[in-house]
Chain length 587, copies 2
């Protein structure tokens, strides 16, 4: 049942995802080459990126230099817009390079106008999209961008305490909030669902599957995290705006908000004993910094810049972005991963005035990750290096740096299962190919398998974003959300854990897109999430903004369709965060 | 006996000293107003600053912008030179302001050309020198500088591991060095004497007072520090070059060298039990960073950027320079003071791969300081804030921030005495006035005096650089090196510790300049330093580069002249570092 095979994502969209970026799904055009099933998407096609928040910033045009093409003010502004939409995700705001190559003026001027134009027009096998031949950019635009790149990059403004504080709003003060839960909702079984392109979240009751609330948040919502007690939700968007929601109120809603930078991805709350619900932390892409806040009001307390040296070559990087943040269960610490420089910062929040940070050398291009089943080890992907770094949160050390045997690991928070042969393993899928890697995580009872890829599975294809399981489940789910083949993109592979001892374990395909009953769009299926009990898995069926989307609930035991949640308000649902599983780090 | 009263230092020279900067002494011109005895020097006069190391850097000229005056390449280069010589010390390389005001283009363009020219010409009561009316800068130069300031500042290149490593030279490998001391020198009584303007140090035998060696080091030598064992000397110049000298060799000489940036001030070595002679550390002004090195070879191990947020307003600062560095005796830690942002970094060197830093909020514009008599508390001046911050090196906390009751404290490492009434106190003099402040340092047995200015003494005048005493001494010495009155500049005040209970303790004046027998020059007397036994104090008589200088040795008990060291090779002697006292932090 192959259809919608033509729905492609560009390499840029892929890269944008890789970098935690934002993109919207547009109409497909050209057919997918056959080998794209296995590999990540490579062909370039039109897509309509979301407006980048950077554009809200007034950027100062750098001065002109002899021998360097000049830009008018209007040209400069247009080029900025294109750069932020198409280029910044991979090349960085300051063009120092990350997933994409460095585009500093020493390089671009050496290359020269013609060479830059060619590069932008035709792309490269290394992953640069063919912006010209794809029709995305006109000849005039390409000439503009080539000239733009030969000028110094504009440096976006800083966003320090004055700006952060100015953005801070307490909507309902602590003393005006309920002293006990005022509703009958089983808050531990709420799902906070990202409605990506509408700048909202939906709170959905896990039992009734009814939408409890739609709450306006920030632009391009990225994730939800939950306070240790389960009372507060923290939602962060790409615009670095955090909205804090109180689930104890009669009608759950926002009680505080703040903006911690110009662009961001991550938020987390303190979880160590004695610090429950005490602090929140968020990490920014620009400026490169993280902000520690009061956990009940979002009042900003401390800003720490992440600018510094790359861990390996020890050269200064002006734009080391904060990727994922995770709260330790072993110490009063946040783990802050710094993408471009490859550091994992163990930020001790027990004394914020005298902030202690243990700075672990890990690997460059850190992105996302999660804890092993014991909660002691943090496994985080360095995606552009095809590595997973393992951090011991008890000893504050890097214990391993593992080649994942796949291309561009993207674990989300990963999945933990008990493998019939290798014991506890943590799993990641890949964006760049169909490899699913199982990493041993039990140095105590399965020492020889610990921190090794003990097995790789062949999944449906590349473009996988999330794997999922649950301590009570006998299954492992793998999506292929970004696969160019619409059938793969709209379905999920399920492995039986007990069958993993087979030589080439088979998977069952769940046609989630079909089950949704939606007939339009690509129906990308993304991010399985368990309910509190661990007997249902919820998948988003993610369509374009003007198309119908849905959430499909699967019975974990039978692998049968259990329920479809459809609602006009469910616009572009992506990540779903079950309160209990999220706050307890169950995945 | 008043003479040489006309020898003035400019405010700029004063500021340069404040910032640990470099300057040379030139001929005096105009008479000193009477009140300048008390206060620091204020009138501007010609002086000849040393060539700044920044000029070795190829600076990239920023592009021109509409409405902003342009500079030719030659003009840009000339303006750079003037800026680094005259302005950077106070205003910072990136013009963000420190002792001087911020001169970023938003400010300078708002002011406009005429206003900038006026400001540069006439100066301001707040401390800006009158570069025009003083005759230091021509009208054309002033116009050039005003235009220069309306353009973006050039950003000097980074100096990362590649550059640091390239500069590293092991002159004599460890296995080629002596296994035991091969000379008969009492190395603990050696004085390492900075010969400021010749880029050398003199090693002088404390007993015979003979010069053992003159050793070429870097440009504008700043300080010497000594490895815990006393075997190795580390000499750092303003050019950020470190020369490491082995005192065990038959003829003590350099065994390794390295450059850790473009400009620097501080070097230190690990002193905690188990880490003796293991690591060295140095802090740079540009790039703002510190470098941890192997203590036996200077091999660079880790570079840490100090760029980050100001401790108080929490705004990003691109140029937070490393001021003083001190090795803790209580933990395997270096204390790194960061000037512009006001942080004290407790850098744990027990695991350099997983570097742990406790970041204490102290006060902006940290400069120099030293330990209390127990070695537990570090007292460091925030000179532009007239404060001393007290760090508990055992608990890694700021314990106090003390208003010194004077203007611009400049303690060097300070002086520790047992006050007959207040018990153990630590002392600082001031650059800006004649106040000498005594701070109680014994929270255990003199709790009510701890971390308070318990007494102020009236000294000879402002422009004091160093106070000095010794556990065995009954005296406290205070120089007035930068006082505009040559009689004060060439003499030292001595207080009897037992007389400090008097209401207005009197001091005795030692005419060190006269005692030297030198008749030319200002004969500035600077930095008392004890011999190992603690019964002699050595003072430098610091004259211009082409003039005669000397070291005068005073009998600490009788306060009489004991010896004058004169030698053609003693060019511009300033700091003297007795091996034993320096490595044991006795002051």
């Amino acid at each position: 049942m192959r259809r919608n095979k033509t729905a492609l994502l560009t390499r840029t969209a892929l890269a944008a995802i890789l970098l935690g970026g934002s993109f919207s799904i547009a109409q497909a055009k050209s057919p997918a080459p056959a080998d794209l099933k296995k590999h990540g998407t490579t062909a370039s096609d039109k897509y309509e990126p979301s407006l980048d928040v950077m554009q809200d910033q007034k950027l100062k045009q750098p001065g002109s230099e002899p021998g360097v093409p000049t830009l008018t003010k209007a040209e400069f502004e247009k080029a900025n817009k294109i750069f932020f939409q198409r280029c910044a995700g991979c090349h960085g705001v300051l063009r120092k390079g990350a997933t994409g190559k460095a585009l500093t003026t020493d390089i671009t001027r050496e290359r020269g106008l013609q060479s830059l134009e060619d590069f932008i027009t035709f792309g490269s096998p290394a992953g640069m999209p063919n912006w010209g031949t794809s029709g995305d950019l006109s000849k005039a635009d390409i000439n503009l961008m080539a000239r733009y790149l030969m000028n110094e990059p504009p440096v976006p403004p800083e966003f320090g305490m004055a700006e952060v504080r100015k953005s801070w709003k307490v909507i309902i003060p602590v003393d005006k909030r309920p002293k006990k839960k005022l509703n009958k909702i089983d808050i531990d079984n709420i799902f906070s669902v990202t409605l990506r392109d509408s700048g909202e979240i939906a709170l959905i009751d896990g039992k009734s599957k009814k939408i409890l609330q739609i709450i306006k948040t920030g632009y391009a919502v990225h994730i939800t995290r939950i306070s240790s007690s389960g009372r507060y939700l923290f939602v962060i968007g790409r615009d670095a705006k955090i909205v804090m929601i109180d689930l104890w109120m009669k009608v759950p809603g926002p009680v505080a908000e703040i903006k911690i930078g110009a662009e961001a991805r991550s938020v987390e709350t303190s979880k160590y004993k004695g610090y429950e619900d005490k602090y929140a932390i968020a990490g920014a892409y620009w400026p490169p910094q993280f902000v520690i806040m009061d956990g009940k009001t979002l009042e900003p307390i401390k800003i720490v810049s992440t600018r510094g040296m790359t861990y390996d070559t020890q050269e200064y990087h002006p734009e080391p972005r904060v990727a994922s943040i995770l709260a330790s269960h072993y110490k009063p610490e946040f783990l802050v991963t710094v993408k471009e420089t490859g550091h994992v910062l163990m930020v001790d929040y027990s004394d914020i005035k005298n902030l202690k940070i243990t700075d672990l050398e890990a690997e460059r291009f850190l992105h996302d990750g999660g804890l092993d089943s014991t909660g002691r080890y943090f496994l985080v992907a360095a995606n552009a290096r095809n590595k997973v770094a393992v951090i011991d949160t008890k000893k504050d050390k890097l214990v391993a740096l593992i080649d994942t045997k796949g291309t561009k690991p993207h674990p989300g928070r990963g999945a933990n299962i008990i493998h019939p042969k290798y014991g506890p393993v943590w799993i990641t899928s890949h964006l760049g190919d169909d490899v699913i890697s199982l990493i041993g995580t039990d140095p105590k009872n399965h020492k020889k398998y610990a921190w090794k890829v003990v097995q790789t599975l062949e999944g449906q294809g590349g473009g996988a974003l999330f794997v999922k399981s649950h301590p009570k489940s006998k299954h492992l789910y793998v999506d292929t959300t970004l696969n160019p083949d619409a059938e793969l993109a709209s379905s999920v592979a399920v492995f039986k854990i007990k069958d993993l001892t087979q030589k080439e374990p088979k998977y069952k395909v769940l046609p989630i897109g079909d089950w949704s009953g939606i007939t339009e769009g690509v129906r990308r299926v993304v991010q399985g999430e368990y309910n509190k009990k661990g007997d249902e898995v919820w998948f988003s069926v993610w369509n374009g903004k003007s198309q119908e989307s849905a959430i499909v609930v699967v019975d974990d035991k039978t692998l049968k369709l259990k329920h479809v949640i459809k609602d006009k308000r469910l616009i572009t649902p992506t990540g779903k965060f079950n309160v209990y599983n999220t706050r307890k780090d169950i995945y």
